[in-house]
């Protein structure tokens, strides 16, 4: 166990709960190692704390919690960086912005692609995408049915609702 003093206080981490960004994140190209912090409350949010800069931490979520049909497929170069052979060995995460209003938004235009098998991640910028940098959560009445991991493969209809 290693210890790290952050803006949230002292945290402990080990190799098992750390995440490596070989290329850093956009604007943070020098930050390569993060600790994955579970959310103490239930819910889909968790956060990652930079090992190299105690001031820097990002809230992340699996965007398919809110946008069932969202999917990002890595290209060959990205798969190489993630050290994976199969595009199915990774999935997208979104950076969550929490403004003062607490009306959070997801950055669907620059997702993080995470490979659980290798504990590596990259942030990619989607060119020519409809997805917004500040995508608000869908309105409650438009909410799609809560998904399970298997739901992704079922190719659920984007417009489906309960």
């Amino acid at each position: 166990m290693k210890k790290l003093v952050t803006r949230f206080g002292e945290i402990e981490y080990s190799k098992e709960n750390s995440l490596h960004f070989p290329q850093g994140l956009v604007g943070f190209e020098n930050l390569h190692d993060f600790v994955v912090m579970p959310n103490e409350k239930n819910g889909p949010l968790f956060w990652i704390q930079s090992v190299e800069d105690p001031e820097i931490a990002f809230v992340l979520t699996d965007p398919t919690n809110f946008f069932l049909d969202y999917k990002v497929v890595p290209n060959e170069m990205e798969m190489e960086t993630l050290n994976i052979k199969d595009a199915e060995d990774c999935h997208a995460l979104s950076v969550v912005t929490v403004p003062e209003s607490k009306e959070i938004s997801l950055n669907l235009a620059a997702p993080i692609i995470f490979a659980p098998g290798t504990n590596r991640a990259i942030q990619v910028i989607l060119e020519n995408t409809q997805y917004q940098i500040r995508t608000p959560l869908p309105k409650v009445e438009e909410m799609k049915p809560a998904k399970t991991k298997k739901a992704k493969k079922k190719q659920a209809q984007p417009g489906a609702s309960n």
Binding site: F8, L25, V26, G27, F28, N39, E40, K41, N42, G43, P44, L45, W47, E55, I56, A57, F58, V59, E76, M77, V95, V96, T97, V98, P99, E100, K102, I104, N107, A109, A110, Q123, I125, E127, I133, R134, L137, V140, M143, A146
Partner: protein, 81 residues
């Protein structure tokens, strides 16, 4: 900043691996061709800058209390029918 004047068809070489060609210039726009190794990332600057700024915002404006509040809101949304 290094400023050079180039005409359509002319180009620049940056280091050993990157070549830039001015393809066309008309109506105030310039079409640029870039040859670079696959690992070199190329983005339109305004897009890159916006993502960078959003990351900076996302990295520093929240507290643990925010996460608790927002998580509770999300759970409440889900139980609402």
């Amino acid at each position: 900043m290094l400023v050079l004047t180039r005409k359509p068809g002319e180009g620049l070489v940056i280091g050993d691996e990157i070549t830039i060609t001015i393809v066309e210039s008309k109506n105030g726009g310039v079409k640029i061709g870039i040859e670079a190794p696959r690992h070199v990332k190329i983005y339109r600057r305004e897009l890159y800058d916006r993502i960078r700024e959003e990351n900076i915002d996302a990295a520093s404006t929240w507290t643990i209390d925010d996460i608790v509040t927002v998580s509770e809101n999300i759970i409440r949304r889900r139980t609402k029918k």
